[in-house]
Symmetry: C2
Subunit: 225 residues, 2 copies
DNA sequence: AAGAATTTCTTACGTGGTAAGAAAAGCACA
DNA sequence: TGTGCTTTTCTTACCACGTAAGAAATTCTT
């Protein structure tokens, strides 16, 4: 571990900070490698030693927003009605997205779900399960609440793009970091005797959420009249 | 109305059809002007006589998906419980999005909401209002159900990008085509004595939907145990 | 036949991502 | 002290994409 070489003027942190700032000011469209580099008084290619290309930069942005969400969420007490826990969590996330309006757009555009996002779902799921909900209901809750946190309606647990090739270690790390999600996936896989794949399953989720909303709205309607 | 000039081998329809096909096969990323032109055995610049650039092409794609939704929706009866009407409508829309997975992504990426999308909201709102719901509740329903149809959580009625400059005619056309939406906007504007703008308002919508979901989930939890 | 109209094609420019490798700037060992 | 190794930054260049400008092609009108 030597300190040899030209002393760095950049760092991953500085690059990402500049990118966030630029996005806050000009949105995601104007965010080119050259623009971010300019903001740092540096050439575009210099960024490549700190993020792996444009995709890496965007991944870094996701990481940063989710870190902010984590921060805004860190102090939430985890006892009391699970609804309060989840409610505060969702509102905190929303606050961050309001500060960074490009957040939801960016999140939906990314194809894979980063660990930082999983951390949220883990917290929501944990609150529910500890309140006595089944993993099945928890699963449906994650789908239903997904767009409440991030503004997206994405297939959550579709094995996106070679998720099959996870090493044993990675899986066990995942299980440690996200025990409830892991248990939920296991339970759901076990329940569904094979006919899961495809959108039938996801259609059921869709209908579940839809009916939740429709019934809630109908209750409000009759209550108001 | 003459037929003079070189006979066209292309048409807006053919261009959009090729684009849809390409998107179905390769997603939105690979969809370049050159690729769509290739598929038609034509040069990229030839497309410009039928769509106004890339943006126009994407607008056309939105138009096409929404047309499919319309088609899948046309036969829905509009009497009975409003929930059934809305339910079928949402499921029909979902079916189309499943056929064209790029649909939601495309819809969220567009900055303005095309009339074809308004038509849906009009139908949903109409069903609710005719069932006795207030415009206020209808408004909240549109927000809550928004992501159920299109996968998006967008500010619905934010005057996006120079919506102030609509001609008198355009407004009256809009009022004719979408009477319920027009009435709703009027009612909501009237109610809110000035302090509407900004995200406070939108935060209220957010909380409303959130509580709808949380309460619904809690009801399911206690029912299951 | 000449001209007008319309679509398509050719060429070329600007921008954005990034590959390849040269230049800069510090450390280690002689 | 200098020579070479290492790490970061910069230079140059290529390719893909959107599209502006205008030439070429093709048909109808007169």
């Amino acid at each position: 571990m030597t300190t040899r070489g030209r002393p760095p003027t950049l760092s991953r942190e500085r690059v990402l900070a500049a990118a966030v700032e630029h996005a806050d000011r000009s949105g995601l469209d104007g965010m080119t490698m050259r623009a971010v580099a300019d903001e740092l008084g540096v050439e575009a290619m210099s960024l490549y030693h700190h993020v792996s290309g444009k995709a890496g930069l965007l991944d870094g942005l996701v990481e940063r927003v989710m870190a902010e969400v984590d921060e805004a969420t860190a102090l939430i007490e985890t006892d009391g009605d699970w609804r309060d826990v989840v409610r505060r969590r969702c509102l905190a996330a929303r606050g961050v997205m309001v500060r960074h309006p490009w957040g939801p757009t960016l999140l939906v555009s990314r194809t894979s779900i980063p660990p930082s996002v999983f951390a949220h779902f883990e917290a929501v799921l944990g609150a529910m399960v500890e309140a006595g909900a089944s993993y099945h209901l928890g699963h449906r809750a994650l789908h239903a609440l997904g767009s409440m946190v991030l503004g997206f309606t994405q297939e959550l647990f579709a094995p996106a793009d070679g998720e099959g090739d996870l090493s044993e270690e990675e899986l066990s790390l995942m299980a440690q970091a996200f025990p409830h999600i892991t248990a939920m996936v296991a339970a759901e896989l076990h329940d569904s005797d094979g006919d899961v794949l495809g959108w039938c399953d996801s259609r059921a989720e869709f209908e579940f959420t839809l009916d939740l909303l429709l019934d809630g709205l109908e209750a409000q309607r009759t209550a108001a009249s």
